[in-house]
Assembly symmetry: C2
């Protein structure tokens, strides 16, 4: 039995179990670190005697460098109270079990790889489009980490200011992809929540174009075998066919792979685990931590 | 002793040796596949009794999938005569030794990792800016491959058509990064070869901005510990400080890593192996092929 925490900016999803079939979960609103972590640990403590380890898939930025003294911390987040919060350390100290730690999107990628839409794939991208935009990349069967960790939502994409005068909502970059295509960006541009846009609203086609521009860049950079797109904005399922068509238009036959050109509906897909990808990924992180500890 | 072939669109660089200290090289102009390969094989055959294996770092697109029946081929190149050319197979059949095979930029990345500017790094990017733009990425100590292989030059970047009305020179994408910032794109935009642009020509600053936009996207996607920039266009060494400054401006402090913010002159660097990165990388591919065969 493993413990799992998907640490999000609005809620923590905590779970115990071994996989999608036996997962017992609870949701905790994200308030202060101490209140939220106390509630999360309390839920896990009830099962402590059975827990081998705990995995945490967290919002960020986080410190993933095992050599660093702030490993397992949430670092420079603007979220009040959470800056320099020792998430992994707090859970390890409270429960006395090994703790695995990664970003929320890397967690979701691991969940989809184990039980979802990326089973059997060595190279793929999990993307979430919601309050922010984030990507978890897997290459050669390994999650991309690097110097810090990827912040895929902040890539630059073409922005035609005549067609779309919205200047972008990212406080750091204005019109990076997240600044143009996150849920809050759509809300700011059109004045209504993304989920209330009718399927033929021009905001849907524009959103598909920005997201496809991001996908084209990642196809050229990472050469994924599949791209999984989750998050609140992707609940607008009309986006999927528009994104696929625009991606093919942008690539324009340059990448010769039938997986893309002939099977786009299998190339850009929704998460098979739906909103449970993140917490199930945290379970995979727990397994890995237990294996390392053995 | 290993054999190495850096297969380029204008020349093949062939070598035998064990590293930078004892490399014996020869250059062969790229004409027809049979003439070019005959000359390359002839050079290597003279040392055949000493050769454990040969490595090839090739222009592309190439087939890197070991399960594919066209593994080791150059595939869909527009270069006359070279489409569907069985490069690795021809060398293996002629010399009867194991052959390692990868893209030219992946090869250069491996060379820099072994003997050059990426020694000791697990995550970095090697970029070449010349006739085309290509990138070799290493993540967690492994070269990025994926569904086909990366084609990093073809990412999309912002293009202000008022400031730069040049429509882009990529036959597939017009104004992708390669279409805006390769050597031929610069030549087409300004009417003179890139190396003849004076350091204060506006084309140099514009070039730095496009390349920095690409770098910002790759920093957010791959989180490299360092970016190595080679190729003919980068001979304009004035580009380096301009690119570093523009990269910092674009990232705007969002990626909190002193390696980037405080040490940009060590973060974006020239190849330590200069123009020998590719052929030395082919030597690393040969070593790997020999190890696999043992």
């Amino acid at each position: 039995m493993y413990g799992a925490i998907e640490a999000g900016g609005t809620k923590f999803v905590c779970a115990v179990g071994t996989g999608p079939g036996d997962l017992e979960t609870v949701q905790i609103p994200t308030t202060s670190p101490s209140a939220t972590l106390d509630a999360a640990v309390e839920f896990l403590r009830r099962r402590r005697t059975e827990l081998h380890s705990v995995g945490i898939a967290s919002f960020g930025p986080v410190d993933l460098n095992p050599e660093s003294w702030t490993y397992g911390y949430i670092t420079s987040t603007p979220k009040p109270g959470w800056r320099n919060c020792d998430l992994a350390g707090a859970v390890r100290k409270s429960l006395g079990v090994p703790v695995g730690f990664d970003t929320d999107v890397n967690g979701a990628a691991l969940g989809e790889a184990r039980w979802g839409a990326a089973r059997g794939l060595s190279d793929f991208l999990y993307l979430t489009v919601g309050t922010g935009i984030g990507g978890g990349g897997v290459s050669g069967g390994r999650v991309l980490h690097g110097l810090v960790h990827p912040e895929m939502g902040h890539i630059r994409v073409p922005h035609d200011r005549i067609e779309d005068p919205f200047e972008g909502s990212c406080p750091y970059h204005k019109d990076c992809l997240e600044g143009l295509a996150s849920g809050p960006a759509m809300q700011a541009r059109w004045g209504i929540p993304p989920r209330e846009l009718s399927p033929d609203h021009p905001g849907i086609a524009l959103e598909a174009r920005y997201l496809a521009a991001g996908l084209a860049t990642w196809v050229c950079t990472l050469s994924p075998q599949r791209i999984i797109m989750g998050g609140g904005v992707m609940q607008q399922s009309r986006l999927f066919p528009l994104i696929r068509a625009e991606l093919l238009r942008l690539l324009n036959g340059y990448i010769e792979a039938r997986e893309i050109t002939d099977c786009a509906d299998q190339y850009v897909v929704a998460p098979a685990l739906g909103s449970r990808a993140g917490v199930l990924g945290a379970l995979v992180l727990a397994e890995e931590a237990a294996r390392r500890a053995d």
